[in-house]
Each structure stands twice: as structure tokens, then as C-alpha cells.
């Protein structure tokens, strides 16, 4: 039974709670970020990637200059802004990182399993080849509009898988991407959370600034890493590099950011 006095002030408590609970405070870190100017250590990683692109390597001792990122062999400028996309030669939807692995295997003779066993660096270690190449290639789309072509059935299916995964809640904490990313103006501690649900424009600001230099780890992080690490914090098993769900999520988020201007590599917490 609910005692009457409990009823009265429970409403009062609500009033007290409400103001601060919904304070849309300004960005606490605007001043901090603004002091960085445009001097982003990711630029050094981007240079390394540019060198790797045209360096003869691997068992076949070949460069990546014949690699087709979707705009024709060797075309780098603008390629990232249109990825992920369907590739006829593999009959699969691929994001930049899986396409790079494909080229490193086909053109240079590297072993796919070896590359994908450790696609991401750990704090304090040098950047992986994939990270250097991704930073360079993403930087070569700076200023260009994201344009994901959803007409191809396989790309559209990847989009649908990504959207479905966005709302998928499981595991001990019942977490899904939507737990943190379906509302606007929210934050975890002081970490602003972009609203990435269908139609939410925060995807414009977010998707276009990956890959980005993570200050906290002193290294550039790519979007495949971003998907894997979110999965980790959702208490899920580890997401496989280049898997259908990873590429689906990336296709979904990229499509939600269609027409936004690429501005990578970014500078992140």
C-alpha cells in the first residue's frame, strides 16, 4: 500500500530532480579542444601511410598502387567517402580496412590471417600498417561528402543488418548501441554521446571524423576498432574484424552520415 505522505513529496522530489537532471550544459571541453588548433599527431601517421601505399612489400614485393578502393585501381582521393560499398570482384560489401587486407593479399601476397590477427595497435606500440594506410586514405577524402550507395541489394542488406544490430540488446547489462546512442544531448560521465539512431544528424559529426587520433591512447584509431571496442564495453564476445555485423554497423552509420563532409583524421578524447 502506498502511504499518503509518500505520495505528496514523491511529486515534490520529481520537481527537485528534474532541473539538474536535464541541464543541457555547454560542451565542458570546448575550451580544451580549441587549444589544440589543427596540430594533430595523426598527420605523422598519415605520412607513414602515404609511404606504405607506394612501397614494394610482401612476398610478391609489390606496392598497393594497383589497389582498387572502388574508384578504379590506384585512385585514393575521394575513395573513403564512398566506403563501405559493394565490390563485384569479391561479390561482397567491404569497408576500407577489409578492402586494404584484400589488396595486401592479392597484390602483395601477405597472409590475411596474419594481418587480421592484430589489426589494431595497443597503447604505447607503433601503429599497424592498416592504421597508417587507413589514416592516409581517409585524409585523402577530406572535404568530400559521404556518399554511400544503398541501391545495391547487398549494400542495402548490410545497412539493414547494421540498423538491426543498433537496437539489439543482450548480455548481462542488456546493452545495445541504442542504450547510449539513441538520445540527444546525453553523456556518460563527461563523455558526450552522439545520437546515432535512424535520421539523427549526430552521425554527420561522428562518422566523418573517424579515423581519429585518440589522445588517451596516443594513437590513431579506425572505425573497425571503434565497433569492436564498443562491443567490448557492451559486455559482448569479441567482434570479428571485417565481419558482417562490423561492416553492417559501419554501412549503417556511414549511410546515416550521407552528404556530410569528411573531416578525418579527427582528434579525439
Amino acid at each position: 500500500m502506498i502511504p499518503s505522505q509518500f505520495k505528496a513529496w514523491s511529486v515534490a522530489a520529481l520537481l527537485v530532480l528534474s532541473p539538474s537532471a536535464f541541464a543541457q550544459d555547454e560542451d565542458v571541453f570546448a575550451q580544451y579542444r580549441e587549444m589544440f588548433g589543427d596540430d594533430n599527431p595523426a598527420d605523422l601517421v598519415s605520412w607513414d601511410g602515404e609511404d606504405l601505399w607506394s612501397e614494394a612489400r610482401g612476398p610478391k614485393n609489390a606496392t598497393l598502387e594497383e589497389c582498387d578502393l572502388g574508384l578504379g585501381p590506384g585512385v585514393v582521393e575521394g575513395a573513403y567517402a564512398q566506403l563501405p560499398r559493394y565490390f563485384a570482384d569479391t561479390d561482397k560489401v567491404m569497408d576500407l580496412e577489409t578492402r586494404l587486407v584484400h589488396c595486401m593479399v592479392e597484390l602483395q601476397g601477405f597472409d590475411a590471417a596474419e594481418i587480421t590477427a592484430k589489426p589494431f595497435t595497443s597503447t604505447g606500440e607503433p601503429q599497424t600498417d592498416l592504421e597508417k594506410l587507413s589514416t592516409y586514405i581517409a585524409g585523402a577524402s577530406k572535404g568530400m561528402p559521404v556518399s554511400i550507395d544503398l541501391d545495391h541489394p547487398k549494400t542495402k542488406l548490410a545497412y539493414e543488418l547494421g540498423k538491426k544490430m543498433f537496437f539489439y540488446r543482450s548480455g548481462p547489462y542488456d546493452f545495445g548501441c541504442s542504450t547510449c546512442h539513441r538520445q540527444s544531448g546525453k553523456r556518460i560521465r563527461l563523455q558526450a554521446l552522439p545520437n546515432l539512431s535512424p535520421g539523427a544528424e549526430d552521425a554527420d559529426k561522428v562518422y566523418t571524423t573517424w579515423p581519429g587520433y585518440r589522445i588517451s591512447q596516443g594513437s590513431v584509431r579506425t572505425f573497425e576498432w571503434r565497433m569492436r571496442d564498443c562491443g567490448r564495453q557492451q559486455r559482448m564476445p569479441e567482434m570479428t574484424f571485417g565481419s558482417d555485423i562490423a561492416i553492417g554497423l559501419i554501412t549503417y552509420l556511414a549511410a546515416e552520415a550521407n552528404d556530410a563532409e569528411m573531416d578525418a583524421p579527427g582528434l579525439k578524447r
Partner: protein, 227 residues
């Protein structure tokens, strides 16, 4: 003994839970999500059934076990299934979720709701627990600060949940309030179907003692939350 709430009275607690509803961990049907999804209809090349089938297959092929996180964590219970959509559950399903949640709450065996607020303060800012990167032998954190404001002078707080500053000072320690707050932590779906808040008790994330410590952090007059 658990709170028997008839439907008529349930909305009385709703204002309190409502703070959560309105603030952030509202259930699915926020107007914003509904219109956004509709406005974003891309001409479907695939039927829902086709997508579902492709999704189940993708799920199994896209993850691999690591550390304490096995593939079982991809399976869903009824609540998770009902809460895994943009639109959210129907009213009856939401009521069923709340009822099931209320019925399974385990209150403290010794009837004592309050532990050590200092231990509660510690677990409020520990965000690890049950991730494959975590050591299973170390107790899980509560990570309350991820989503809630608590001590007035701690600036690193989240805003997904309502502010809990002054919780005990405002509410006192009546039996009903202790029960309500314990239930809120044990299984938030008891008052808010599809809440974003983890089921700290029901999912075995925190032990009974940890829940008591967190309650003390909220209720104990000595606790900095109430200064």
C-alpha cells in the same frame, strides 16, 4: 514480501520513476525516435523475414568468445527481445515486463537495506566488470557516475539517468522508499519497462552487500551525496 502494486496505484510511483522516464531512460516510444525512423524509410529491397534470417546468421559469424565473454551473451531473454526495437514494446508487453521484474526482486535476507556508504562511493565510479578485458576475480563495479549525478561537487557525472544528489536527504528512509530504491537497482524494469539501466541485482552484476553499500551511499546522512 514484495510490493503489491495494483494498476491504479502504479502511476503513483510513476512520478518518481517518471523522472527517469522523462529524463532519459524512457522506454522506446520517445516521439523523436518514432518520427526519425518513419522519415528515414529507405525503399526496402529486403523483406523483414529475409533480414532477420541474414541477421541471425551474421550474429553467429561476427563474434568469437574471449575471456569471460562467451557467445551465450548474444542470446536474449524475453525482456531483451521485447526491448530490441526502435518502436519498443506494446503497453501489455511493457506491463508484463514490469510485473515479471517486480515478482523476481530479492530483498535483503536480513531485512537491512543499508551497508557502508564509503564502499558504495567506491563502486559508484568503478566502470569495469564482466567485460572480456576484466579480471573475473575482481568484484564488478556499479559505475553509477556513468549515468547519474551523485555527490554535488563531483563534476564527472553522466546525464542518462536523473540526478541523485541529495537522494536520502530528500526522501528519508521509510520502508517503502528503501524497498522502492532497492527494486529500482535490483531490476529497473519493475518501474520502467525497457529501462536503459542494467539489472544490477537480477542479472547478478552486484552482490547483495554491494547493493547495500550503494543504498548507503544514497541514503546515509553521512554520505557526501546528502551533504
Amino acid at each position: 514480501m514484495q510490493i503489491t502494486l495494483n494498476a491504479h496505484r502504479a502511476w503513483l510511483l510513476a512520478p518518481l520513476a517518471g523522472a527517469c522516464l522523462i529524463a532519459a531512460c524512457s522506454s522506446e516510444k520517445t516521439p523523436e525516435a518514432k518520427t526519425a525512423a518513419a522519415a528515414h524509410e529507405i525503399p526496402g529491397a529486403h523483406s523483414a523475414a529475409h533480414i532477420d534470417a541474414a541477421f541471425e546468421a551474421a550474429l553467429q559469424s561476427s563474434f568469437h568468445p574471449k575471456g569471460q565473454a562467451g557467445m551465450d551473451r548474444l542470446e536474449r531473454n524475453d525482456m531483451q527481445r521485447a526491448c530490441s526495437s526502435a518502436e519498443g514494446p506494446s503497453t501489455e508487453v511493457a506491463q508484463a515486463i514490469m510485473k515479471a521484474a517486480q515478482e523476481n526482486v530479492k530483498f535483503p535476507a536480513d531485512g537491512n537495506y543499508l551497508g557502508d556508504w564509503k564502499a558504495g562511493k567506491a563502486l559508484a565510479s568503478i566502470g569495469t566488470g564482466l567485460q572480456y578485458s576484466d579480471d573475473p576475480s575482481i568484484p564488478n563495479g556499479g559505475n553509477c557516475y556513468a549515468c547519474h549525478q551523485m555527490e554535488p561537487d563531483e563534476i564527472a557525472y553522466g546525464t542518462i539517468g536523473p540526478s541523485l544528489t541529495g537522494y536520502g536527504k530528500l526522501r528519508g528512509q521509510s520502508e517503502e522508499m528503501l524497498k522502492f530504491t532497492w527494486t529500482r537497482m535490483y531490476n529497473p524494469h519493475a518501474y520502467n519497462a525497457c529501462s536503459h539501466m542494467p539489472r544490477f541485482g537480477d542479472a547478478g552484476i552486484l552482490t547483495e552487500q554491494q547493493l547495500k553499500d550503494a543504498m548507503a551511499f544514497l541514503f546515509d546522512p553521512e554520505s557526501p551525496v546528502n551533504q
